[in-house]
Symmetry: C2
């Protein structure tokens, strides 16, 4: 079935098909899924010319429509970018299989054997703006983890996504896995409808702007993996190595200002603010970072603009840094727990008990001591792949690798065991022996 | 602060107080939390007379209002039930500490050390009907896991809950833990308001009827731990030990019919239906179970009522069992994945490959082979405590012990490490060495 004919089906029928295909996929051994990834990579290579032509048409249309330059950069594929993405598909094949892992193995009684085994979630719904390379990355992660996936790309990438999914399905057609495990939606209406399919879709992964992710979070009962804001802080304690703190601040702010793990606000202990802030301002100035300060910071750095209340809640995604002078650790923690988006929060200090208290009391997926917030990333953590970064409280939290695409089942095997045996006045005790 | 004065505060202020108190609690060592549980148990014992008197007043008012007998049984405390619950508080003190567990420990590079450490969620919102013993159980699990808890009991249990929370707070006042970690709401309006406090409350645990849980699930953005329906099945395969299958069916249906892990529908392979169903009907008849069958089942058992479409989606919570004759494994799996509530599903078969396929393809928190569905329970699984049973897809799933009340943080400790070192053309490689 080609991607083009699928769009004609009703979404519910399509979702059911994906679910059924995914059910078969869930039962496949590792090698079948890994061979499928190789087949997909081969098919993408074989269809590279067609994919690049489709992308060129998307790019041309986008330019006619006056697309922004950042979005255009994400939309545009070339031979090297495509090859890199195809290599990414092959790399996913070499990751450890996230399904079938035995997490608990316990004898409840003789012959009554409990195992908790990791298994696929079922069907993923992935909604992304522009970037067509997400199709390849997400499809390969979904197949590796035994999940079906319904993709909805941005309208501006429709030709690219269609060509990519067609190639992926052609690759799957060479394997024992039904091509229907990967589906593409092409209309805007389908996005909203997809968010309502909680009966068939187990996880939504939105990729795009903060407001887009927030829209998704607010419009579905399906669990959402992702985060809207990335408001991260660096707190510079009184006991601190000035040079190190400046270096960490600069990296956290300037290494990639548009990233969610860049800092937006620097908090500094009032005891050292007068000596630290001028040093910081000099280096930040060299990096063209605009500083905005609270009243105390502006006293010390009279040339910077005053921060307003809005600054503490803004993800600049730009070379702007808000600065606040705080009375100490308690005030820093309170500010972070109030305004932070629970993403990644760092402290620079030479005092270990202070660092320990910070890390214990700050409410965030990542709490860092003497290093840049920019390390908050699945690849840097060594997960091999990154599905997304979650700022929800329940796991999976923080950078999420393949484990975010699996859940688990309790498998209990007996030989006629019944609960009545273990109840009442002459109840047989459980053995509860870990195996 | 007593439970009575708290109700006068605004809910948001109360939630903030709980959150702040919980933040301190999160940083306490195991021994402080365990001592607090002992202090709570002592205070409950010291205030037993007052608690029982408050409960007697609740019971009297409930009878005047014509409360149902099942609800009355849950509402009623006596010396033995109270002592049992207090022992439960002490027992929680002896469980392993769920917080501070190192789940991942990895060197990203020399001196850059990543740990994933379990930590409390923050604040739990627990809403329950009648049963005042839930106050003691939930409060102790919350404190053990380092969480604050806002409790909302049923209107009919208001005096009991108030006396219990007063005693719990009096116990906490003897310790280093702020009594504000445990709070009680007393008005119906506060329940709805609580569900909107996603800024302060991290997990909602509803305890009550299916419709009540569904109401909670549909009216909050806060994650909900629990399940509305428990529609479980037993599939009796063609290759089966008849006696064993009947025994499992009877236990699964009759051991405690009101439980969520009781079966509602029995599916039977058509090859054996003619010989199996009469045997089943005889034993179920002895247990006063009403049978309802699809067309084929009614042909074989002409005395039973016909099942309607509604039967496949109904949790009877009673001695009623629907029966459907299916063509085989595939049809059984399809029925279960369509009508099951993803709670617990069992197969009776002597054929291991069939069992394996069933367990792999059925979508449920528990998939059982040759044993009763009634084993789906945190205590039976050996978790020591049960927070609830979750039928959501993402973990925690199935019976949930203390692990459902914790999440994790990534703690990264460096010595001035910055991301720029590991980027660009002369990027230093990560070591990614598990420690």
């Amino acid at each position: 079935m080609s991607a083009m004919t699928i769009a004609a089906d009703s979404l519910t029928t399509l979702a059911q098909k994906t679910r059924n295909a995914a059910r078969q996929l869930a039962a496949t051994p590792t090698i079948v899924r890994d061979q499928a990834l190789a087949a997909i990579a081969d098919a993408l290579e074989a269809n590279a010319a067609e994919i690049l032509a489709a992308n060129a048409a998307d790019c041309e249309a986008a330019q006619t429509n006056g697309i922004g330059s950042a979005l255009y950069a994400r939309l545009k594929l070339n031979q090297a970018k495509l090859q890199g993405a195809i290599q990414g598909v092959r790399d996913v094949g070499h990751l450890a299989d996230p399904i079938g892992a035995v997490q608990i193995h316990r004898e409840l009684d003789t012959g009554l054997d409990l195992q908790r085994v990791s298994c696929p979630l079922g069907v993923l719904g992935v909604i992304f703006e522009a970037r067509p390379d997400a199709v390849m990355q997400i499809s390969s992660l979904a197949i590796k983890s035994g999940n079906g996936v319904i993709l909805k790309g941005g309208q501006e990438a429709i030709r690219s996504c269609t060509a990519l999914v067609k190639a992926i399905q052609a690759g799957l057609a060479q394997t024992d896995i039904e091509p229907a495990v990967v589906q593409l939606l092409t209309t805007r209406e389908e996005t909203v409808a997809l968010l309502e399919l909680d009966q068939y879709v187990d996880l939504i992964i939105p990729r795009g702007s903060n407001s887009f992710v927030q829209f998704v979070q607010n419009n579905t009962r399906i669990p959402v993996l992702g985060h809207a804001d990335g408001i991260c802080h660096l707190y510079v304690d009184a006991a601190v190595d000035f040079d190190q703190a400046v270096t960490i601040a600069v990296d956290s702010k300037t290494h990639y200002p548009a990233a969610c793990n860049a800092i937006e606000t620097l908090l500094v202990h009032h005891n050292i603010a007068e000596t630290f802030l001028p040093k910081l301002a000099t280096v930040m100035g060299e990096q063209s970072v605009e500083l905005r300060g609270d009243a105390k910071a502006c006293e010390i750095l009279p040339n910077i603009a005053a921060a307003t209340a809005e600054d503490w809640t803004t993800e600049y995604s730009d070379l702007i840094l808000a600065i606040k002078v705080v009375d100490g650790l308690e005030a820093a923690i309170t500010h972070i727990n109030t305004y932070g988006s629970r993403h990644t929060e760092a402290i620079a200090t030479t005092d270990k008990p202070t660092a320990k208290e910070f890390m214990s009391q700050v409410d965030a997926a990542g709490v860092y001591h003497n290093c840049s917030t920019r390390f908050a990333d699945g690849f840097r953590y060594g997960f091999g792949a990154e599905v997304g970064i979650s700022t929800q409280k329940m796991p999976p939290r923080g950078p999420v690798g393949l484990e975010g695409l699996v859940t688990y089942k309790y498998e209990l095997v007996g030989d006629g065991h019944i609960a009545a045996t273990y109840s009442g006045s002459d109840a047989k005790p459980f053995t509860h022996k870990d195996l």
